[in-house]
């Protein structure tokens, strides 16, 4: 019995001292992981002032074109793009979670309202006309069916069957943040190739959506990325 008491006293002492010891302890895995990325899962669709956005768009047009269609293939088309997607990108450029030597600087002076307005403006522009993509090509099969053997999900699941944005379905289950998924149709092959590469290398990260794309991009080989980019460019 006395040994039991001694043992319990040791337990008491250890317990009382533990908080002090642990006060200097490093954070656990939970703390380190929390906040490492922006959670877009509860992001609601944004609204903005199209006219105000138009007034702010002069600088943007230099690269993305006066009607939101890029002047060079290394820039993305913005016309018809999801407003929420555009807003989130501007925010992450500004916060540094997404890095680009041009865009980081361009967004530094933008207010939250500016970003909403610009996003709304470009979303309201007519998208680039549809092309004639070959659904039977390797890129088409990847986009429409994925490749289960490689663990590649079909792109159309989030980006829509024609790449024009997600096809929202009714459900009682928790819904994905559809408005944060971008329109891909008609983006240049050079741009898509670069972005998939950035996802795969981890250069583009920082949001829950980017974490999804990271694992998708890692499942794609170089040839698959080329094929997919070509297919999207012709959509």
């Amino acid at each position: 019995m006395s040994s039991m008491h001694r043992f319990l006293h040791l337990v008491v002492a250890a317990t009382l001292w533990l908080p002090m010891l642990s006060a200097v302890a490093a954070d656990s895995a939970t703390a380190r992981k929390a906040g490492a990325w922006t959670d877009l899962r509860l992001q609601h669709p944004i609204i903005g002032d199209v006219q105000a956005g138009h007034a702010k768009s002069a600088v943007c047009a230099a690269c993305h074109g006066p009607q939101g269609v890029a002047v060079a293939p290394n820039f993305p088309n913005l016309a018809g793009q999801s407003a929420t997607y555009l807003y989130v990108q501007l925010k992450t450029f500004k916060s540094g979670q997404r890095k680009d030597p041009i865009m980081s600087g361009q967004t530094a002076a933008l207010s939250d309202a500016d970003m909403r307005n610009l996003a709304a403006y470009y979303a309201a522009l007519p998208a680039k006309p549809a092309g004639h993509a070959d659904a039977a090509s390797r890129g088409g099969r990847l986009f429409l069916d994925g490749d289960p053997d490689q663990g590649v999900p079909p792109c159309q699941g989030c980006h829509g069957p024609t790449g024009q944005g997600p096809r929202v379905y009714p459900s009682d289950a928790p819904q994905p943040p559809w408005s944060t998924f971008p329109r891909l149709q008609g983006q240049s092959a050079i741009y898509v190739t670069k972005e998939l590469g950035d996802f795969g290398s981890g250069a583009r990260s920082g949001t829950s959506n980017a974490l999804i794309m990271q694992s998708v991009a890692k499942s794609l080989g170089d040839a698959d990325i080329q094929a997919l980019s070509a297919y999207i460019a012709t959509q």
Binding site: M4, H5, L8, V12, A25, S28, A29, T30, I212
Partner: protein, 877 residues
């Protein structure tokens, strides 16, 4: 100790905390080993994953916030965090590991049977968890090891390695204890061996007082069996679509357990016992019953080999499996000496008995399963066929032991010579040569002609053929049958030998079993069923099953069991899901023959001479065995699942079944009614809580009739099998009702207070009450040997109730001191009470000797309190 030190108990409970750092993620949830163990855990951590279950705030998916629900409306649990990994050698390999070492201490009633039933608790150091995993992210190769050790009887270790998509190898070792009694005082020496001998001071013919005096000083011991198992299995992709698998598992069960020891009846009470009227006397004048202890020393080796196709060779998917299971009993006999003489003053040679324990057994099975899609109505055809054979051919044992019935001696004055029965020369053959073969063929068609409608038809034929034939014939004497009760019955009765011999005036009219009864059957099941989705919220289903069985030799040549099932799944009540099912069963069959086994008994043999009064009725003609009697049954079950917001769920289940058997003699009815409710709440990854409660009551009612013992052997009426006749009069009718009520409840709470502190609290309550009551037409229903000493008031209407109640409070506190170092505190407080009238009157070891009966265990403690505390240091590797 605990009762005297409540403060100690409370302190220990408050501190009974625990938990390791979260490290390794659960990786094998959907995996299964082809042979052997599926679940690795122990009493310290029943899940086996407690050290790794830190919920991941990232939730289930990056695609959506919140937890999804299952199709029936339950919330999926929060996923566990993926462990931190470190680089191992090359950049391709990463690893994670955890070791958790600590100390366990038990106080209070540490030897209580229920505490130790499946736990090897031991004061001292314990290995809470040793885990290591490594993964090559480039090649998909992995290694995973996990182990835990409470004591040498309670431990497990598992190693898994392989390459994802290519092969998987698994090996394991584990010990699981099973305590059967912690209050055993075996009278014999040699417990655990095949030879139980009497302790010094006792010999056959001892008096009650002498045996009690020796028993009073026998040491207490625990009777337990330890299951030690080890195995290895492999599964690999032979090509793109072909997968092979193989496994071998070996399980050894060693220890000892309560067993019997017949030496013929010793219940001829003639006067009230020491407890007064209504209690049996303990004269100990003949026979004897012995609660012996037998050894357990078994090995079962399972071998599994298979091949399956997952890619659809010519449209077919199939799986082919060969299985072998080999049981070996390394101690196949048990001899036991007896302290009491079979008959007082007798010069009988019988001084003990012998058992033939389980024979070695080989089991083989081949099975083929295949399926093929059909173009018609998006259908599928599937077939499975199997054939198995079970065989035993161990050397048979002599009917009597030469040690306790030595050559040269005779069984009392019966003239039966021990020498004629104590060697295997007394057997008609030397080996068992037993074999049961069975075949199975199942054909099924599934169709889905529209998105709303699906239906199926299933045909299943299973035949079992018992090919064992053994005739009990002693070539030394020319007699059929065997000497029962180790030779005690012929001595005690002065004549009932259980032997039959044509042409012998002494044995030619004996009713004796002379051969085995090879029970076999054929079973054909035909089922037609389907479901129809009325709309988005309602689905109806229905099926009809005809189960046609032709057992033989049995009381009926055939039975037809018909089942109609109806189901309704609906979400018409808001977000709630209600699943309602009803089943009606009706069984009919051919004419009932109450004695279809005559071919196995002496009256069927040439040379049998019917006694002047015939032979005693085998049983009452109206006795219907429950598996073959007419039956009407209905079952109803309702499951309601109500989502409460996005973080909680309420579930209620109500079920009941009613069985009405077409019998007055035999099982008459059985009913069960139960209900469960639960509430689960997962507001965040950091907190989860659940509360549950359930209750069930069941009632089993059966009837029987006491035979008119005054007519046995003395009147031709003894052969009359009719209920209401002279041998089974209505006045001798009685019924027995078994009422059981159970309840359970509990609450579980888990919370992560901060990244460094995690607390798990669990409370569980279990209660059951069993009452055996009875009714009877008159006191003639009571056996004549008791009737003289009992009145109706003595008999009453029930036995005392059996009660079992247990409450358990478990707490774990997990403290992370640094990223690598943690402290876990564990506490478990268990208390309960137990009452079973079978053990009534057993207070001290001497109480275990009652008349010519020797019992071994006092039974579980009526009340127990146990506190278990542990402290563990967790180091992340």
């Amino acid at each position: 100790m605990l009762k005297r030190k409540p403060l100690t108990a409370l302190l220990g409970l408050a501190l009974g905390l625990v938990g390791p750092l979260p490290l390794l993620a659960q990786t094998d949830a959907s995996d299964s080993q082809r042979v052997g163990n599926l679940q690795f855990g122990n009493s310290l951590d029943p899940t086996g994953w407690g050290a790794f279950t830190m919920p991941d705030p990232a939730g289930m998916s990056y695609l959506h916030a919140g937890q999804l629900r299952t199709p029936s409306g339950m919330l999926y649990p929060w996923p566990h965090q993926i462990p931190d990994e470190a680089t191992l050698g090359t950049v391709d390999w990463t690893y994670a590991g955890l070791v958790q070492l600590g100390y366990l201490h038990t106080s209070g009633d540490r030897n209580d049977e229920f505490l130790r039933m499946y736990s090897g608790w031991k004061d001292g150091a314990a290995l809470g968890m040793l885990a290591f995993s490594a993964l090559n992210h480039r090649t998909g190769q992995y290694v995973d090891f996990r182990g835990s050790r409470i004591s040498s009887q309670d431990q497990y270790y598992r190693l898994r390695t392989g390459r994802y998509g290519t092969y998987h190898v698994e090996a394991f070792y584990r010990d699981i204890p099973h305590a059967l009694s912690t209050t055993a005082y075996p009278l014999w020496n040699g417990v655990g061996s095949t030879d139980l001998t009497l302790p010094n001071g006792l010999a056959t013919g001892s008096t009650l007082a002498q045996v009690q005096a020796v028993e009073a000083n026998r040491p207490r011991r625990t009777l337990s069996v330890t299951r030690r198992s080890e195995g290895v299995s492999w599964e690999g992709a032979l090509s793109r679509n072909w997968i092979g698998y193989a496994g071998v598992t070996n399980e050894n069960r060693t220890g000892e357990r309560d067993w019997g020891g017949p030496m013929y009846l010793s219940y001829f009470f003639v006067a009230p016992g020491p407890g007064g009227p209504g209690t049996p006397s303990i004269p100990g004048t003949s026979g004897g019953q012995y609660d012996t202890v037998r050894p357990v020393d078994f090995t079962t080796t399972d071998v599994n080999l298979g091949l399956r196709n997952k890619g659809g060779a010519s449209g077919w998917l199939f799986n082919f499996t060969m299985t072998g299971s080999f049981f070996r009993d390394h101690k196949s006999t048990l001899d036991y000496a007896v302290p009491f003489a079979v008959a007082p003053g007798s010069t009988s040679a019988i001084t003990g008995g012998t058992w033939s324990l389980e024979p070695d057994n080989n089991y083989y099975n081949v099975r083929l399963e295949a399926s093929h899609p059909l173009k018609l109505w998006r259908g599928e055809f599937s077939v499975s066929a199997a054939y198995s054979s079970m065989r035993q051919n161990e050397a048979l044992q002599a009917p009597l032991s030469p040690m306790y019935c030595p050559s040269g001696q005779f069984l009392g004055t019966t003239g039966i010579a021990c020498a004629d029965w104590n060697t295997t020369a007394a057997l008609s053959r030397q080996g068992g040569d037993a074999r049961i073969d069975s075949g199975l063929l199942n054909l099924r068609l599934d169709f889905r002609p529209t998105a709303k409608l699906s239906w199926h038809v299933n045909l299943r034929q299973r035949d079992e053929n018992n090919m064992t034939r053994y005739t009990m014939y002693n070539p030394l004497t020319g007699q059929y049958g065997y000497v029962p009760e180790n030779g005690a019955e012929p001595i005690a009765t002065g004549g009932q030998s259980g032997l039959f011999q044509p042409g012998s005036p002494l044995y030619q009219s004996n009713f004796a079993q002379i051969s085995n009864i090879p029970f076999s059957y054929n079973d054909r099941k035909t089922e037609l069923g389907g479901s129809y989705r009325i709309d988005r919220n309602n689905t109806l289903s229905a099926s009809y099953l005809l189960d046609h069985q032709t057992p033989h030799p049995r009381e009926r040549t055939y039975i037809n069991d018909q089942h109609v099932k109806l189901g309704w799944d609906t979400r018409a009540f808001g977000n709630a899901t209600l699943r309602l099912s009803y089943e009606y069963q009706k069984r009919t069959g051919g004419p009932y023959n109450p004695d279809p086994y005559l071919a196995a008994y002496s009256p069927s043999r040439p040379g049998y001479v019917l006694p002047a009064n015939g032979y005693t009725a085998f049983t009452v003609a109206q006795m219907y065995k429950y598996d073959l009697s007419n039956l009407e049954a209905s079952k109803l079950k309702a499951i309601l699942t109500v989502p409460l917001g996005t973080t909680a769920t309420f579930t209620a289940t109500l079920y009941g079944n009613r069985h009405r058997y077409g019998a007055h003699i035999g099982r008459q009815s059985s009913d069960t009614t139960g209900a469960d409710v639960s509430w689960d709440w997962e507001p965040t990854a950091a907190t989860s809580m659940s509360v549950y409660a359930g209750t069930e009551s069941s009632r089993l009612r059966q009837g029987n009739v006491n035979d008119n013992e005054a007519l046995t052997f003395s009147s031709p009426d003894q052969a009359n099998m009719q209920f209401g006749g002279p041998f089974f009069p209505y006045a001798n009718f009685w019924t027995a009702t078994d009422n059981e009520r159970d309840a359970n409840a509990g609450a579980h709470f888990n919370h992560v207070f901060s990244p460094r502190v995690r607390l798990d609290l669990n409370y569980d309550y279990t209660w059951s009450r069993g009452l055996n009551s009875y009714d009877y037409a008159s006191l003639a229903a009571i056996s004549t040997v008791y009737r003289s000493i009992l009145t109706a008031a003595d008999v009453g209407n029930s036995f005392p109730a059996n009660i079992y109640r247990m409450q358990t409070l478990t707490a774990n506190l997990n403290l992370a001191l640094t990223r690598r170092l943690g402290l876990g505190l564990y506490g478990k407080y268990e208390f309960g009470n137990y009452a079973d009238w079978h053990y009534a009157g057993f207070g001290i070891p001497a109480d275990l000797i009652v008349g010519n009966r020797v019992f071994t265990e006092l039974g579980p403690q009526p009340h127990w309190h146990v506190l278990l505390v542990g402290a563990f240091v967790t180091l992340k590797l």
